[in-house]
Amino acid sequence: MNATLMIVRPIAAADLGALFQLASKAGVGLTTLPANEALLKQRIDASLASFAGTAEPADQIFVFVMEEAETVSEHGRERKKNKIVGICAIAAAVGLRQPWYSYRVGQVVHASQELGIFTQTPTLFLSNDHTGHSELCSLFLDSEYRVGKNGSMLSKCRFLFIAQFRALFAKKMIAELRGVSDAEGKSPFWESLGRHFFSMDFKDADYLTGIGKKSFVAELMPKHPLYSSFLTPAAQAVIGQTHELTRPAQAMLEAEGFRYEGHVDIFDAGPAVECDVGDIDAVVKSRLFTADVGPEAGSDAGSTAKSEQPKINYLVASTSLDHFRVLLVRASPSGELLRLSAVQAAALGIKSGDSIRGVPLSPKDRVAS
């Protein structure tokens, strides 16, 4: 019998090859996962240093991979086959090495009572407002694995890490959502604005962003406030709009408490959503449990014996920094105890009685702790 288990763990040096393969599938729009081996190696090294506690806060980035751990039975022997299928990361503080730019969407009112004039004009102000904030970034899941709860698990596993290690992060968390572009990667906003200042295609600018040159590109962009009414109607229409394919991610973040507060990407005008770390639903409602490792736990079958509450999807994580692991399990914790199977406990690297952090995957299953 073949058994598979999805697990999220910190990226390791040995993941470089697999990560490069994954990045090659990501394409335009995921600026933080460029298919560039040297840069991916840098990213891995930065993550290793961050977990090891040797990186400066300004450089800290915690990168996680989702791994499919398959146990294959062949000729009576069990063999483990592991595959990297997704990636996500949290940057501790953006904009402290290179300036972090976004446009703040505002408005100016020009009014004269005497002339009977009152006009509201939308504006874009180049800002560094998000400097020092933490950022959810680099989310990518192999398209073959975009089934079930994988996407949700990959994105939300970060909230358990943040809840467990709050001191590593800023008060405010942001996430940039991909803006509107067509099938060829053409962004109406870029065509109307960026192109005038920088004669290159959006996907090239996007790539430069990914390889850490966004601030160089930004320095070529207009520094003075812009009247958005000078842009084409198509460009005006996509300011603060999310790419169709990114809307589920936006809905997920919004369900956790993230909100668009009027900052957009300087290239494609995609919205940045933000939330105080202390207000992120999954962070606030996650809590520590004591692992109760026993037979048949973690599956729906286990609940039939007792008249417990029905089992729900729980994200559970180990609580050690250097051996952080996240799993999605079916559970109905009672009191301080959360039941796990031996396989699950082994995957988390914990034993019965150890402390684990858990939160229901879906906000609607959560209660205030």
């Binding site: 002339l115 200042f197 003075h224 000078f230």
Partner: protein, 360 residues
């Protein structure tokens, strides 16, 4: 005030873009009154004075043109223009250098003296008289420098169609006002332009973001103003830096001392002599008297002899000059076409009817 009806006729036919000549009886009345007052007042420092001149055909007594000076642009307030700027967006790292044209709303020209209100009857356009009408102002400034700033500017009408629609206005001003250009022009005529300017975009405008027709209109002159504009360029005015905030027309500027008429004019004593002034070496001179409220200027054939300007009795009488009077004279320069005879005088108040005739 005796010139008012003629000036009203001129205001009625002058193009959109000459905001200093509003077709409004009350405003023109006020303008003439304050001009009369300015000419008759002692001035140490340039302020709110305006000086309004008319071109009169002394053969017929008809007023055929106007010109003016505002001693201090935006006096009591600010004078707004857009300044053409180049912003270089460069990155060594990316080996890119882009020059971006932007318009900055500025007050740079505040306090400069402004040449305004130029209008000449089209029948006289192809004569030397537009030269007189425009440049007589400079002789006046040469004689009374304390009344003016040492730098000058002049607004020129920008592109618009026959209905007064301006592509620059449609792309810029219109977004902030909800009105047509002629309407906005009228509001600003005669009253502080500042009032309107405060409703205009305060942040720089990146030119590449404007529609093509608006970009083309930046610094483009309305053909109707070719004549006064070319006179100013010949004088040495520069047209590259500033444009009008409404229609994008070029606003020229110059340091008074660098202008051709200022550099070539001399202060001379009048010597009336029929023979000398009509001899073969006589040249056309712009000649201006040196009083304020009886200021007159004309174009006369004359000869410079030492510190004397030798004029015919006819020319001297048009100018109400007698032997020994001081005048300022500058060579007219070369012109191909000739028209009727005229002279320039301050637009007159009710009590001042002294307009001497001059016959060619």
């Amino acid at each position: 005030m005796s010139d008012l009806p003629a000036i009203e006729r001129i205001a009625a036919v002058s193009a959109v873009g000459i905001t200093s000549l509003p077709p409004d009886h009350e405003k023109l009345y006020d303008k003439i009154r304050s001009s009369v007052h300015s000419f008759s007042t002692e001035v140490d420092v340039n302020g709110e004075e305006i000086y309004f001149f008319v071109l009169e055909n002394t053969a017929t007594g008809a007023i055929i043109g106007t010109s003016g000076i505002a001693a201090s642009a935006g006096f009591h307030d600010r004078f707004y223009s857009y300044r053409n700027e180049i912003i270089v967006h460069a990155s060594q790292e990316l080996k890119v250098s882009n020059k971006i044209h932007a318009l900055h709303l500025c007050h740079d020209l505040t306090g400069l003296s402004l040449l305004t209100s130029f209008y000449i009857d089209p029948a006289y356009a192809h004569s030397k008289w537009p030269q007189l009408l425009s440049r007589a102002r400079l002789l006046f400034m040469a004689e009374f420098p304390q009344r003016f700033a040492d730098k000058l500017a002049a607004e020129n009408p920008g592109l618009c169609d026959e209905n007064g629609n301006s592509p620059f206005w449609n792309a810029v001003g219109r977004r902030f006002f909800s009105m047509e250009y002629p309407q906005a022009e009228q509001l600003s005529g005669g009253r502080s332009k500042t009032f309107i300017a405060e409703l205009m975009p305060q942040y720089p405008i990146y030119v590449p973001l404007l529609p093509a027709d608006a970009q083309l209109a930046i610094g483009q002159l309305h053909p109707v103003a070719d004549l006064p504009f070319s006179i100013l360029l010949d004088e040495g005015f520069e047209a590259d830096t500033y444009i009008d905030i409404f229609d994008g027309g070029p606003t020229v500027e110059a340091r008074l001392q660098t202008l051709r008429t200022i550099q070539t004019n001399r202060r001379l004593c009048v010597k009336i002599s029929k023979d000398d002034a009509s001899n073969r070496t006589a040249l056309d001179y712009l000649v201006a008297s040196t009083s304020t409220d009886t200021f007159r200027a004309t174009i006369a054939q004359a000869v410079i002899d030492g510190d004397a300007l030798v004029m015919t009795p006819g020319a001297a009488s048009v100018m109400q000059l007698t032997d020994g009077d001081s005048v300022r004279a500058a060579p007219l320069g070369t012109y191909t076409s000739l028209g009727a005879t005229s002279n320039v005088s301050p637009s007159s108040g009710a009590s001042s009817s002294a307009n001497a005739g001059w016959n060619s």
